[in-house]
Amino acid sequence: MVISTEAAKETGKVNVLTDRVLKRKQECNDAPRKILFQRARSLTASWKETEADPNRLRWGKAFARVLEDSPIIIRDSELIVGVETKDIRGAEIVPECNPYDVLEQLASKNARTMSEVMSATIDPDEAGIKEIANYWVGKSVNDIVYKAYETKMGESYKDLIDGRRGKVAVLPDVNGTVYKTQTIYNPRIMKDGLGGLIKKAKAEKQKALQKSEFVPNDYTAIFHKLVILDVMIMTCEALIKYAGKHADLARKMAKTEKDPVRKLELLQIAETCAWVPENPPRTFREALQFYWFIHLGIRKEAPYHSGPCPGRMDDWLYPYYKKDVEEGKLTRQEAAELIGLVWVKLNEMQMVSGSYFEKEAAGSLLQQVTLGGITADGKDATNDVSFLILEVAQQVKMPQPGIYIRVHNGMDHDFLVKAIECNRETRGGIPAFLNDRIAIRNFLATGYTYEDAVEWSAAGCLSYVVSHCNLASKIAAYIIIPKVLEIALNGGTDPRTGMKCGPETGNVTKFTSIEQLYEAFWTQYDYFVDKGAKDYWVGYSCKVEHLGTPVTSLLIEDCLERGLDVYEGGERYPEMGVCFGQRGCVDVADAFAAIKKLVFDDKKYTMAHIMKALKANWEGYEDVHQACLAAPKYGNDDDYVDDIFNYVSLKSNEIILQKPNPATGRPWRVSRPALTGHYPAGEVTGALPNGRKAKTPLYDAGLSPMVGADVNGPTALIKSATKVDQIPWNMDSMVLNMKLSPSMLQTRPSIEKVLSMLKTFFDRGGWHIQFNITSREDLLAAKKNPEQWKSLIVRVAGYSAYFVDLPPAVQDEIIARTEHGI
């Protein structure tokens, strides 16, 4: 549906920050983060009682028990109800995955925090936690995974556990609590409601029992199908009961409520919760409440997962919105407030998931909302709710959820303008932009129907998935490419540990051409990828075997008909593949460019001299360091280095794609995730020929240049980024983070120019771009550390200069103006 400019303007007039939303936002921001173990207690109690049951049934019963014991709370002034924990910002521990983190923290008497990032405190009932955690010692997913590694690899598996601390260049996902996947809300279940699903499951049970043509072993399959269907029924009933308790509570509260307005609201809450999720929602509000119960269900099923994602929220809310507005039951303002309340709730969600993941994702839950895209008949899917959601994000200004726009050629232009304005107001990142055409192409290539493919949405950081067909991709192993280069430069030895960890590839100081270095590098790379591909799927397989996903299996279509959990292949399409994560491709391209230029082309330094400088972490080699920094850098539309990036990027993918993947029988999928993993990966990597110092962070994300090295402006960066086929078929994430100054977004003409740039990025085959808006803090940092901010340009008509060149007084003037968005 195409929105008139008028409608866009109307959206701008809504006030999302009503007293109610402001109050909830304040409560959320003020709430301390707490580590809780209520879920763990219920789960453990159930687990102890179900030892004789089949594994999947145990997860079903455990989930029902968790929900049964969940706190029922309706907070003051709430309209959409349901909480994950008794505390506003509580995080549940997950001892069934990893009890050791908890025990370790409890053992250290002085530290009451579970996490540096979250600085959360542990619930004081320590004895309870200890007992629960101890129960899982030897039974947790971590134990099972480690055992499997030991069986597969013998004693050497112990290196892997240390590998998390960076002993090797390729890191497996050994930690049971490291995220595996993410569930995306599938709005199709609103069609029948959970009551309808129960009926379907019962009918399937009958069909299975009446099946007469037995073949050998089929009985086992039928028996398993019955278990899965029973779990589904049990899960639906638990969710319906959980919602019903909210209805009861609301009615009870209404009886004693003095304020007549609130009384009415409570009665409406009661009516809503008595109806959904058992029945299909009839109104906008019921649709949101339906979704919220399912969201909580997924959280309670697996708090160790990131997400879940609300998915294509504009698409699934719109029919309810349209109907209610047409019938005069809902105004734009009311809809905005309801969405605003859900936005705050999404920020209440917390997670503890092991120290490594924290560094990877800095505690973010990655609950992604997707807007726009196309409909199955090829039309622009942007609608009134798409605008409304951006308005909510723009006004609420909280970190969750992330928003992604599926950009396509027929997209409502006003919507894109709104999206840029939203970036300006939220200081960037919200929303981010994705290339609709590329995702659809990749789904079609995997065998999806067009109808299913157009339903894709964003997940994780950043994967793309069709909510009713599959789960988001999982990362089974990471390879730190700069670390591989470091090992290649040292002939197979990791200089950090002195350990010989790769094959012998020769003394680089004897090399006479860059090609020889390439060859040594690829030999090491192939070795480490092979190691990862052969061994590291084990951990992933164990988790799939061991964990059950009762709620998620309800959401993924075909699980019910097949009678399979989604982890057992219940999903409609074979999965896109388990991901092999890569980090630091651009760093390596820059490093090769510096060596090629300084050693082999210009012959300014010998390889031996560079190696000495690297070993000394540049100390005493300031000239070499500066020369390496000044060598061609990716991000400047310079073919010298961009060609190398292209080469490294394609070949590093190709090598992974050629490896077998025993976990799925399908090719690996390559992923260059964004997140914050460039910090831990950087900590274990020494100085690199691109001029980077040892232990400092690698470049962030898949397509970012070295900090401050892109001195030719945004168009040059886009050119560099789009010279390579960004998302070849079966590739996962690859993001370009681009810095914009607020002055580039101030007026409508300048917004149009940013949009032209965005469209050119997509025309050139770009996949994912997001903007950071230069903030006052950035400028203060630039004043202090000019060498890192060489690329920051101040643009005024007929004039431009690098910020770092300005005298302090003028810098201060610009800093002052940035408050008001210069």
């Binding site: 300031e622 000239d623 500066q626 020369a627 920094l629 000044a630 539309d637 030719n712 402006g713 945004p714 168009t715 040059a716 886009i718 050119k719 580039m744 003409p749 300048s750 149009e752 120019k753 032209s756 740039m757 469209k759 050119t760 025309d763 050139r764 000019p786 060498e787 060489k790 101040v794 643009r795 005024v796 008509a797 007929g798 004039y799 431009s800 200069a801 690098y802 770092v804 060149d805 300005l806 005298p807 007084a809 003028v810 610009i814």
Partner: protein
């Protein structure tokens, strides 16, 4: 006129071979004409405006500049300088401009890029190759190339050759000019020019001479000439506090502009971002005390131009 080939052979030269002196090529320029543009800044200007924000553009020869924030005080430049023009203290380097021959030896040894040369001889072909890199962006946004300066009309053969190459490749061309040029120069460049951004700084010839070093009579004549050819013109007026931004003076300027329909007007609020470049070149900036106009003042000035029936935009 200089060319890459030996002028004595008498061979007709290719447009790509014509040489010019360029001091900056800036991609993603969004305030120098429509769409996304690449702005090519040329060296050399006949005016010496007191408020000039690009002092490095004024001289036609290359000049050495020092960017103190990037200087690591290594001292390599001091020894590289053959005429001993460079000295080093706590703040960084200073260059004795009397001695400096702008030979560029110091720049070669400066690894962090704190020393740089403003001004480089480039052929129109080389510059064109740089411009062409953003062709996709021009197409999408309706942009193109803008040649600014310095004064583009001071290097007419170079600009004409460059523009011919651009036009032949479907790239929109624009000059940003102070208006002071010979008729011959105009005749060379205008046939390949899609848009002219034309500065008017002051209305009175004497005041113009006082603040820019030259009278404006020839400038106003050239404006008429360009408008008569039917090339779209946008008049740009930098608002300099106390110098040309009184109502009376702006009315005089508006009166001139209104005499050349269908020109449009851009007004540019004052800024002193160029101050840093004066320091880099060891020159003095005389208008340090002035402050930018407020939004209200600028909007008032905009309405003043509109009251003359002119389309006026604020460009900041």
């Amino acid at each position: 006129m200089s060319t890459a080939r030996d002028g004595l052979t008498g061979k007709p030269e290719e447009p790509g071979d014509v040489l010019g002196t360029v001091f900056n090529i800036q991609r993603y320029s969004i305030q120098d004409g429509p769409g996304i543009r690449t702005t090519v800044f040329l060296k050399g200007c006949p005016l010496r405006c007191a408020w000039c924000s690009n002092p490095e553009s004024q001289n036609s020869r290359p000049e050495i500049a020092h960017r103190d924030s990037l200087c690591t005080k290594c001292g390599l430049c001091v020894t590289a300088c053959k005429v001993r023009a460079i000295s080093l203290d706590d703040k960084g380097v200073s260059i004795n401009r009397q001695l400096c021959t702008n030979c560029g030896e110091c720049v070669k040894v400066c690894i962090p890029g704190a020393l740089k040369v403003f001004g480089e001889t480039m052929s129109a072909g080389e510059v064109f190759r740089q411009i062409k890199k953003d062709a996709d962006f021009y197409r999408e946004s309706g942009g193109g190339v803008t040649v600014s300066g310095g004064e583009p009309l001071s290097q007419p053969d170079f600009v004409a050759s460059l523009f011919k190459l651009c036009r032949d490749n479907g790239i929109n061309t624009c000059i940003e000019t102070c208006g002071l040029a010979s008729v011959e120069a105009l005749e060379k460049v205008l046939p390949y020019t899609s848009l002219v951004l034309f500065d008017i700084k002051l209305s009175e010839p004497e005041a113009h001479r006082k603040w820019t070093g030259r009278s404006n009579e020839e400038i106003i004549r050239n404006l008429g000439l360009i408008v008569k050819k039917g090339i779209p013109v946008i008049i740009r007026i930098p608002l300099i506090p106390g110098i040309n931004d009184s109502d009376e003076e702006l009315k005089n300027i508006a009166h001139i502009a209104a005499g050349f329909p269908p020109v449009r007007v851009n007004i540019l609020p004052y800024h002193k971002f160029g101050m840093g470049k004066y320091q880099m070149l060891d020159r003095k900036y005389y208008l340090e005390e002035l402050n930018t106009q407020t939004d209200t003042e600028v909007q008032k000035d905009k309405r003043l131009f509109e009251s003359f029936g002119l389309v006026c935009e604020v460009v900041a």
